[in-house]
């Protein structure tokens, strides 16, 4: 599974859009989810109040993150859970590997963890000769295809049922050409059941970790986190440091927001609460930083750590819907990914904050009120300042800035064939007129407004 960047967002999006029918299908499918979300939230009179509460709880938690994490650790340990701390992705993977080695484990199932995607755990373990089986249906499908998830809630949303049928035929020996969703789901279920039964260790993510109780909650629609955790001898939960909330009473706010924002459901089918290992079982939690404290220290971007990974910003984003998740070349795609990933690697992800029209829909759909589009704007400033910008673009911008700072030059330039707007956007781009590729140019009128005004102001 390669997450290595090969193309920037614009180039990858162009390839995606070439298949226009498929792009339309992708767009419609996600728009359908967005509409379900709208229906679900417009039935809740106090929706905006819930968002405000969620945002305040998260703000408060982020301001006291160290205290809450320590309280959580203490409480969880008192419950008999083993806590591990990982500074970065590598350390997370090494810790996991150590648990596997110490217990001599080879059969592993995993459920609901974008964090392990972010850390590239599967790749890491594969190199050590260990295979992990993803048990979320969508995740299993992309895993069989050796692809990355393209969406954090609907990881295989870029695939049609025909694609799934082909994949299953190849890997699970289902009937060729049988695209019946029920048949395919049943095949996946049987296949996963075998893995569940045999698994010795289950990895899950964490949606919410509660400082007060030392317990945590995992939300799944398929119940697979439960299946894994309840059959395996060892349960390892991986969480980012930002997953903490202070008290159990705060859960209600987030559980109401999460499922509605994600899929339009009133609540996720399974909200599994884990508090302590059952007798004979071991339970571990790996608490991961991986750039989060750095982001916490960036005043303009700390707000992004409030994210509860509902993906509402993906579904609402007109750019995401038309460019596909893989065009973002990162584990977390979409608008939120575009503000989280430059923090992890600014150079590799310098294109992402520009993959937006700044329409602002993401910020307004976000259940925890992250100012996503404003952060995109701010990242653009940082990226240019740090020099991750093409020199042609810089020259063009400087030229424009000069032109607009000098009213006389501006008017002269406008008059001489009204060329300036014609050339303006494309100066940075030597392939000449990109606008014209699929759009006509605006007609150049004889007179500017300025000229008209001079002639008519005293009439």
């Amino acid at each position: 599974m390669s997450n290595l960047k090969t193309l920037d967002h614009a180039a990858a999006a162009e390839i995606f859009i070439k298949d226009e029918a498929r792009t339309d299908w992708h767009d419609d499918t996600l728009w359908f989810v967005r509409q379900k979300r709208d229906k679900a939230v417009h039935g809740i009179a106090e929706w905006e109040q819930l968002r405000e509460w969620a945002s305040e709880i998260k703000n408060h938690t982020l301001s006291n993150l160290d205290n809450y994490l320590i309280a959580f650790e203490k409480q969880a340990e008192a419950n008999g859970i083993k806590i591990h701390w990982a500074a970065d992705a590598l350390e997370h993977n090494q810790l996991m590997h150590k648990i596997l080695k110490d217990n001599n484990i080879s059969r592993i199932v995993k459920s609901k963890s974008m964090l392990t995607e972010e850390c590239h755990l599967n790749d890491y373990l594969k190199k050590q000769g260990i295979e992990v089986v993803d048990t979320d249906l969508g995740e299993r499908i992309v895993q069989l295809r050796d692809e990355a998830p393209s969406h954090i809630v609907l990881p295989a949303i870029h695939l049609k049922k025909q694609d799934v049928s082909e994949t299953f035929h190849e890997h699970l020996h289902t009937e060729e050409g049988n695209n019946d969703p029920q048949y395919l789901t049943e095949a996946a279920r049987q296949h996963l059941r075998d893995h569940f039964i045999q698994s010795e260790l289950a990895i899950t993510g964490v949606n919410f970790a509660i400082a007060e109780t030392g317990g945590f909650v995992v939300c799944t629609n398929e119940g697979n986190a439960d299946m894994g955790a309840h059959t395996a001898k060892i349960h390892v939960a991986c969480m980012g440091i930002e997953k903490i909330i202070p008290k159990t009473e705060h859960l209600g706010v987030f559980l109401r927001l999460l499922a509605r924002s994600a899929t339009g459901q009133p609540i996720t089918t399974y909200s599994s609460h884990f508090q302590k290992p059952r007798s004979g079982q071991e339970m571990h939690i790996i608490i991961v930083d991986n750039g989060r404290t750095k982001q916490l220290g960036r005043a303009d971007f700390r707000n992004s750590l409030k994210c509860i990974r509902c993906a509402a910003c993906f579904n609402t984003c007109p750019v995401y819907r038309r460019s596909g998740g893989h065009s973002y070349h990162t584990a977390v795609a979409g608008p939120i990914g575009s503000i989280l990933n430059p923090n992890l690697d600014m150079k590799a992800n310098a294109d992402l904050p520009f993959a937006s029209t700044l329409c602002g829909s993401c910020s307004n759909v976000c259940p925890v009120k992250i100012d996503i589009h404003e952060q995109l704007w701010k990242w653009r400033q940082v990226i240019v300042e740090e020099g991750y910008v093409k020199p042609e673009k810089k020259i063009a911008m400087k030229g424009m800035a000069w032109l607009f700072s000098n009213p006389k030059v501006y008017r002269w330039a406008g008059k001489s064939g009204r060329w300036f707007l014609r050339t303006m956007p494309f100066l940075g781009n030597n392939k000449l007129n990109v606008w014209y590729k699929q759009r006509e140019m605006p007609e150049a009128p004889k007179q500017s407004f300025h000229d008209w005004y001079q002639q008519n102001k005293n009439k």
């Binding site: 999006a13 226009e20 750019v319 520009f354 653009r380 800035a401 406008g414 990109v434 759009r439 008209w452």
Partner: protein, 244 residues
């Protein structure tokens, strides 16, 4: 009440008719309107591309031109939003602040300040309204589908006063058209696809015109309409409100 008319650079150069309509409309409604003649651009193209340190010249020029007015009005939500959020004057911060407080998008000015009750306009056509994002979500000119708040729309309030006009919305009422400033060239494929999708929904409503409060969205949609050889035309809201 002295009103300074701000006609953004690309409207000045390519869509003077929008500037003319805005000017005439404000006059008709009794405003004392002036067009400061040394104005150029608000600086948004640079700032949105990540080059906000390069907007100093634009800022300086803007303050020099508009400092003296009680109100500044422009037929472009996105330029107004840029000024509101980012105009700076390090030497005279109070001047920049005054402008930021007093700048209005046209429909906002007509509804909130002039409190226009009647319009003498007449426009007997089927018109599809495109909700421009910066005006809607940035300046709160209308409610949006994402939020659970009372519904309202300042531009619609005005369009409903126009005789003969049949207003329609695309199915996705407030989806972005894909212009997005320099996004329209640096992300050309997505930009055009978004524009095509917007147009298709309007065409389903069999409109004669697509209108909006931002010329930038319209320029982009018009470019695609013309390339397609469509009969549908793009027209700025000010032109409709000024049409008799």
């Amino acid at each position: 009440m002295k009103v300074g008319l701000f006609i953004p650079c690309y409207i000045d150069q390519f869509y003077p008719q929008v500037g003319i309509a805005t000017y005439q409309l404000l006059k008709k409604l009794g405003c004392d309107v002036d067009y400061p003649e040394n104005q150029t651009c608000c600086g948004q193209p640079m700032a949105n591309s990540g080059f906000s340190p390069l907007t100093g010249g634009c800022d300086k020029n803007f303050v020099a031109n508009f400092d003296a007015y009680d109100y500044i009005v422009a037929p472009s939500g996105s330029c107004v939003l840029h000024i509101k959020e980012h105009l700076k004057d390090d030497k005279n911060p109070e001047k920049a602040q005054k402008i930021r407080n007093n700048i209005y998008e046209l429909t906002e000015f007509l509804v909130d300040i002039l409190k226009v009750e009647h319009l003498s306009s007449n426009f007997p056509y089927k018109v599809g309204f495109h909700t421009s994002c910066h005006g809607q979500r940035g300046l709160h000119l209308s409610s949006m589908t994402e939020r659970v708040l009372p519904q309202f729309s300042k531009p619609e309030q005005l369009l409903q006063k126009v005789k003969g006009l049949q207003l329609s919305y695309p199915e996705r009422k407030d989806e972005c058209c894909g212009f997005g400033g320099t996004f329209c060239v640096f992300e050309e494929a997505v930009s055009v696809k978004m524009g095509k999708d917007r147009i298709e929904e309007h065409q389903k409503n069999e409109v004669d015109y697509i209108t909006a409060g931002d010329v930038s969205c319209l320029m982009h949609l018009e470019g695609i309409l013309k390339r397609q050889g469509s009969k549908v035309k793009a027209i700025h809201l000010a032109e409709i409100l000024n049409h008799e």
